[in-house]
């Protein structure tokens, strides 16, 4: 059944023929202006049009990738580019762990590995702005951040253990027809460390007036900030060679 589904997606993509590979379907994201969490109120950021993977990269996708690119096999990878937990649940270089499913998101990969994966597909990692821009939508509206339900959904995900075992597409399809932006795994972005949230979140409040953190600490009723802070916090705790069981990625592509 899954194979049939895959083939169908593949055929669909081929018929559309605007996209080269059938590993992951991409959808167009219409760019625009938005106020990011970390921006100053009223200062908007421009996001250009781009294409984004519908699903996060799966175990299956990454398996194919390491078969074709041996430098990223777990036995070969250079420690500078991935820590000791890189693909830790895999039995060996080309076999998933007994508990892992082919269509679950790939996790325990470093930023370097994710970046190279996308490049080899002719794509790239999304920027924080691109990722956040797509992630602020719910099923029906492009910017759902002021809606209580949207924020509640994200906050409740933080409390659900082991969602990394779920398969891609198991959360909702958002306004842009992109799945799993919330509720499955965290995702790498190309500039994940550009907004520095140090370990001392209260200090961020004090020092960096450009962060909304400051106003959020005073006006803590803002659920949007709470839900999103967690993402900035997790990004802030990472280094490029880190790997995490809850952290995967997806790719984007510029529209020429």
């Amino acid at each position: 059944m899954k194979t049939i589904l895959r083939l169908t997606i593949c055929l669909f993509v081929l018929l559309n023929s605007s996209l080269v590979n059938c590993q992951s379907k991409m959808v167009p994201i219409k760019g625009g202006e938005y106020t990011p969490l970390y921006g100053r109120e009223g200062v908007k950021v421009q996001v250009a049009d781009f294409l984004m993977d519908v699903y996060p990269v799966t175990n299956d996708d990454f398996l194919k990738f390491v078969k074709e690119n041996p430098t990223w096999r777990k036995s070969k990878v250079i420690r500078l580019f991935a820590d000791e937990r890189y693909l830790i649940d895999w039995i060996n270089d080309t076999q998933l762990g007994p508990e892992q499913q082919l269509n679950s998101p790939i996790t325990n990969v470093s930023w370097f590995a994710a970046k190279n994966y996308c490049e080899i597909q002719g794509k790239r990692l999304p920027t924080v702005d691109e990722w956040e821009y797509v992630a602020m939508s719910n099923e029906t509206v492009a910017d759902a951040r002021s809606l209580e339900n949207y924020n509640k959904y994200i906050l409740s995900w933080y409390e659900k253990p082991k969602t990394f075992d779920n398969v891609v597409g198991s959360t909702f399809k958002n306004y842009w027809k992109v799945y799993d932006m919330h509720g499955l795994v965290w995702e790498w972005t190309s500039d994940f460390n550009s907004v520095l949230i140090t370990g001392e979140s209260r200090n961020d409040v004090d020092k960096n007036s450009e962060l909304f953190c400051g106003s959020a600490a005073i006006n803590a009723t803002d659920l949007m900030n709470y839900a999103a802070f967690m993402r900035y916090a997790i990004r802030g705790s990472l280094k490029a060679k880190y790997t995490m069981k809850n952290l995967g990625f997806r790719c984007v592509k510029d529209i020429k």
Binding site: R85, S156, P161, Y226, A233, I234, G236
Partner: protein
């Protein structure tokens, strides 16, 4: 003459100033330099889950103390049938108890379990340094961080997670206590326990079953669904009660993780002999209730003189009986009638005076009043009123009781099995262990000071509510139960 006077005054002032700054005062003013205490050797810290504490430090020299703590996000039970995902230091709420002495160099390693979803850190109030260690310990899942600090001030201190959003991390259980003993240790006692209060905010109301998620709105509004000791309802009641023997001294290390509420900590039937006010060096004596701020702690000790069950509460009392802030200290041993007599005598209270009164004989024949039995509907309606006035506080609105303290009346096998026994309990009270729906309860129900008619009404109401067996209890039947 005038000049002379002024000079004398200046001289006097000078003398006063000199004597005012005596050697004793200098000692008080000059802070003892704990940073200069030399450490001797290395030791791995013993960490304990509540309500237990590690062995006293006593008079050991200052050492390098290795503390290894793991952060685990895991599902637990807030109350019977109510599940909650706790974020923990060391797998328990509150987190593992850390015991140090002044001058120790604590080398702290914080590990974030790979299955966890979030980055965390630790802010120890015992740390003198930015963030209390938070910045140095910010750690992603699957990683660990090590930092060290010198314990400069003796006292009992809270630690907690300080990762954004700080309130949510604390509200999910990320707090605990670290004790810094003074030189030579604390005075020895017979029993020591670790208790920490916390307030919880769930998507459902108090008692709503199933997996409950954290409710940010309620947290911001400080509208707690649960206020509990040691992370859950019943963590310190029934079989989990802390214990002591008559004649022993008991020390409680009591913290308040918050995130929001201040605790009015009280032990019913005891007076604290000593209280380290706010966990610091000021000693207060003979205290009934001590205030523990959110993010604060206190050390209390007292001697237990008589046996029995002593109830630990937040004396903001609805929290104790309605939200869970209730624990038990069970004391075994010989009665001491000098300290506490128990019931000495039961008698009839006659407001008009103690002289013997008798009814005129001829009246007796006339006054055998016949009680008119009410309709079932009327009894249920009247019984409900009695229930709300007399029984509600312990057995709760829908007869669900309070876990580990007061048995349920709803669908109660004990209640439905024997109507006369139940009537007897309402009439005469009940002390000791009973088993209701497979769970043991050991508490006291006092005899209820209500009339036979009221007993018939309230029993009928209870039997005709919440899935019970619909017995219609008559006044006659109540009268027959001796």
């Amino acid at each position: 003459m005038k000049i002379h006077k002024t000079q004398a005054f200046t001289l006097l002032l000078g003398i006063l100033l000199i004597f005012g700054c005596s050697d004793d005062d200098k000692k008080v003013l000059a802070a003892k330099d704990s940073a200069a205490i030399v450490i001797q050797g290395t030791v791995k810290a013993e960490l304990t889950a509540p309500p237990f504490v590690p062995q006293p430090v006593g008079n050991r020299p200052a050492k390098k103390l290795l503390v290894d703590m793991e952060i685990i996000e895991k599902e637990g039970e807030m109350a019977d049938g109510v599940k909650y995902v706790y974020w923990t230091f060391g797998g328990s709420v509150p987190g593992s108890f850390i015991r140090t002495r002044v001058g120790d160099e604590v080398e702290f390693t914080l590990s974030n379990h790979p299955d966890n979803k979030l980055p965390h850190n630790i802010d120890l109030h015992a740390v003198t340094g930015p963030g209390g260690g938070a910045e140095s310990s910010f750690v992603a899942p699957g990683h660990k961080k090590t930092f060290s600090f010198k314990t400069l001030n003796p006292g009992l201190y809270v630690y907690h997670c300080a990762t954004a959003p700080v309130g949510m991390h604390i509200a999910n259980g990320m707090y605990g206590l670290i004790l810094v003993e003074p030189e030579g240790g604390l005075p020895p006692v017979d029993k020591e326990y670790y208790i920490m209060q916390g307030d919880f905010y769930t998507s459902g109301d108090n008692g709503e079953r199933g997996l409950q998620s954290f409710d940010m709105k309620k947290a911001v509004e400080e509208d707690a669904d649960y206020v509990v000791f040691n992370g859950k309802v019943g963590a310190l009641t029934g079989d989990n009660a802390i214990t002591a023997n008559v004649g022993e001294t008991v020390r409680l290390f009591v913290g308040n993780g918050g995130p929001n509420l201040t605790s009015s900590f009280h032990v019913i039937g005891e007076i604290f002999d000593n209280v380290h006010v706010e966990g610091g060096s000021v000693m207060n004596k003979n205290v009934q209730t001590t205030s523990i701020p959110a993010g604060g702690a206190t050390i209390v000790d007292f001697k237990v003189e008589v046996p029995g069950t002593f109830i630990l509460v937040d004396h903001a009392i609805f929290r104790a009986f309605n939200k869970g802030a209730l624990g038990m200290l069970k004391v075994k041993g010989e009665e001491n009638k000098k300290v506490y007599s128990g019931i000495k005598q039961e008698g009839i209270y006659l407001p008009e005076g103690g002289s013997i009164q008798s009814m005129p004989k001829e009246a007796k024949t006339k006054t055998v009043a016949v009680v008119q039995e009410k309709s079932l509907a009327q009894k249920i309606a009247d019984g409900k009123q009695v229930y709300m006035k007399t029984c509600f506080a312990c057995h709760q609105a829908t007869g669900q009781g309070i876990p580990n303290a007061f048995p349920p009346l709803a669908k109660s096998d004990y209640l439905n099995a024997n109507v006369d026994r139940a009537i007897g309990i309402v009439k005469h009270g009940k002390t000791g262990e009973i088993t209701v729906n497979g769970k043991k309860y050991n508490s006291v129900m006092t005899a209820q000071n209500i009339s036979d008619i009221e007993i018939a009404d309230v029993m009928t109401y209870i039997y005709n509510s919440w899935g019970n067996n619909k017995t219609n209890v008559t006044v006659d039947r109540v009268k027959k139960v001796k």
